[in-house]
Symmetry: C2
Subunit: 378 residues, 2 copies
């Protein structure tokens, strides 16, 4: 069956909504944060923890990484990514566009697609819209992304416009390819096109309208959170959300801090993902209900309280700050393991709290009251 | 209360015995393998996994590492290592002797003790038998080890003899210091002296007799598994076990492979520890009920069986060999995490099987039949 989206509640004071996405691998309560599992694993987190402790509704995989390693042949033999990594809830894969531009070497963009060299072994590859759809068929995610070009910030107007138009032409080819192929593993795959247009209002407007016109099962906003100021991000998120259809999920790609998450939800975003909680965790930075802590700091040396007693859960309450500081100082793997589970538990708590406050009708007051607490340095 | 040891069964065909050690932190079924938690953590393993999945009866901590980092002040403030790392079952700490000789820099051995420089920051330290007892009081393990010199293999006779005699003199000082101090956290700490004497029968005999004469609550055999052939290790284990008292636990330090574990149990050893299962795990080597696998090998690329269906348990059955190979090739932390839990689950399974076969009276046949399977390369 297709992807289904129902809006359950709309916040009266902001554009936030509480909804539910239904996929063949289960339901996603929105707004949702999606942990990033680049190479088929959310770094340093057991699948069991992701399900039972963090209770993620959906995780991401990266097409670029999975294509290079383990490759589509292994993924197909496994029966797709769900079978390969044992995650039986929904998965979303990006299209590899962003990684081709940020990680790969000697890339060349042509009308046909992008040639690049692998960051792993220097081998040469070509990504076309058609090829990227085929790869995502092999991976078998429930939600797959159109192949786009993500221009850097800042980009000049002409570059941004040409790039956006290329992304639109590529989208048509993605749609054509997807619609002439079938899923490999018996479950539906929904294609989300991506709004681009850099930080130009007329381009973003054009792009959002164009993307909406494809009438796919959900829509994404790309090319934000790439270095622009937060206020500019919010301005463009709002512009896009106001154009993208109300009755379909809106996915803001690669965002962000706890404050970014809440502000974008207020603008009508339903889905977000970011490497921040896991990447920061590996560097000792944890987000808590009381604020942000750097666990490597000497001030935690003899603090025997858990990371976050209020949040609850094993990782956040079993180990003391003192012990975790010791783990970080001693370069022990457990440090990143605990902090990663904690940060993801926090991010999922955050969007679930947001959802409840949308339902309760006090989302705006709650958001404005909690952001200064969540963003303070402890 | 003191440490209690009861022998439940003796194998009629070997010198193996099945027993039970009782400490203030609970019981240890012997023979037992003790996972090594160098810096207060068994590398890449959550405490919850150690308890619920691996079901370790007792873990090790390293005095040298814990003294350097986090240091005795933090450990005392925490209320000892059990409180610090959240492990509420028995803990054993080595004396740091081995690490001072293998890790520390510019060490100088004198009658008083050993001066050395930290491998972390080059700072200068002095370990005396008295200081090492005090540090182990601060750590608060249930079983603590005498400060010894562990000579390398091979050592010449004169060096080995002088070293052994120094170890014996240091033992008297350890005993004196321990007996004039009290535990800091209300639970009993049992001191195990260590037999040395390198690979000389007369020295090992002298040392075992001397160590036995102290009549402590358990005894250890050190200085083996340091590069000598396995047959030589077994010869000296047997020599020591035959002299050390029957009614006290015998701990063979730093051993070893699955075959080493079983052969030494057959000679009368009750306790063993080794970094092998966790260190090998991080390099992709796993021990299974069918043999040894290098998960990095291409042959597992499209093998979607779990590591070890027979063994059971989450780590050993949830993830496929193919997925784990991908995790190792992609340098994902999950690779070492899963393999570490698996290998320790296997080691604990191994000693529990051994115990059951001792009780059943068919330990020797079982051991001889299973060793070739366990040690074969898959």
């Amino acid at each position: 069956m297709g992807l289904k989206f129902e809006i359950k509640h709309k916040d009266p004071q902001t554009k936030a909504r509480a909804g539910k996405i239904t996929t063949d691998h289960g339901e996603i309560q929105t707004p949702i944060f999606m942990p990033v599992g680049t190479a088929g694993t959310v770094k340093a987190v057991h699948q069991r923890e992701l399900k039972e402790d963090i209770n993620a509704d959906i995780i991401l995989g990266n097409t670029y990484h999975l294509y290079l390693r383990p490759g589509t042949e292994i993924l197909e033999k496994a029966g797709g990514l769900h079978k390969f990594n044992g995650w039986d809830r929904p998965i979303l894969t990006d299209s590899g566009g962003y990684q081709v531009f940020s990680l790969a070497q000697t890339r060349k963009i042509k009308e046909e697609g992008v040639t690049f060299r692998s960051h792993i072994d220097g081998s040469k590859h070509l990504f076309t819209p058609e090829r990227v759809m085929d790869i995502q068929r092999s991976i078998g995610a429930d939600i797959i992304m159109a192949f786009d070009e993500c221009p850097p910030y800042p980009s000049d107007y002409t570059y941004a416009k040409n790039s956006m138009q290329l992304t639109h032409r590529w989208l048509q080819r993605c749609v054509d390819r997807l619609d002439e192929t079938v899923p490999l593993y018996g479950h539906h795959q929904a294609l989300f096109p991506i709004v681009q247009g850099s930080t130009y209002k007329d381009l973003r407007t054009q792009s959002a309208e164009k993307i909406a016109s494809f009438e796919r099962e959900g829509n994404a906003i790309g090319g934000l959170s790439v270095g622009e100021p937060a206020e500019m991000m919010y301005e463009f998120t709002e512009l896009c959300c106001d154009i993208l259809p109300e009755d379909k999920p809106r996915y803001l790609m690669g965002v962000g801090t706890p404050a970014n998450i809440l502000e974008n939800i207020a603008l009508g975003v339903d889905m977000l993902d970011c490497v921040m909680p896991t990447r920061q965790a590996r560097h000792g930075h944890v987000f808590t209900t009381q604020g942000i802590m750097n666990l490597k700091n000497k001030k935690w040396e003899d603090d025997f309280e858990p990371i976050d007693a209020t949040l609850g859960g094993y990782a956040s309450t079993f180990y003391s700050r003192s012990y975790l500081r010791h783990m970080f100082k001693a370069n022990e793997a457990l440090a990143g393991m605990v902090a990663s589970v904690h940060n993801l538990t926090f991010y999922l708590w955050l969007v679930r709290e947001a959802r409840q406050h949308i339902i309760d009708g006090d989302f705006r007051e709650w958001k404005n009251a909690i952001i200064p607490t969540l963003m303070q340095r402890l």
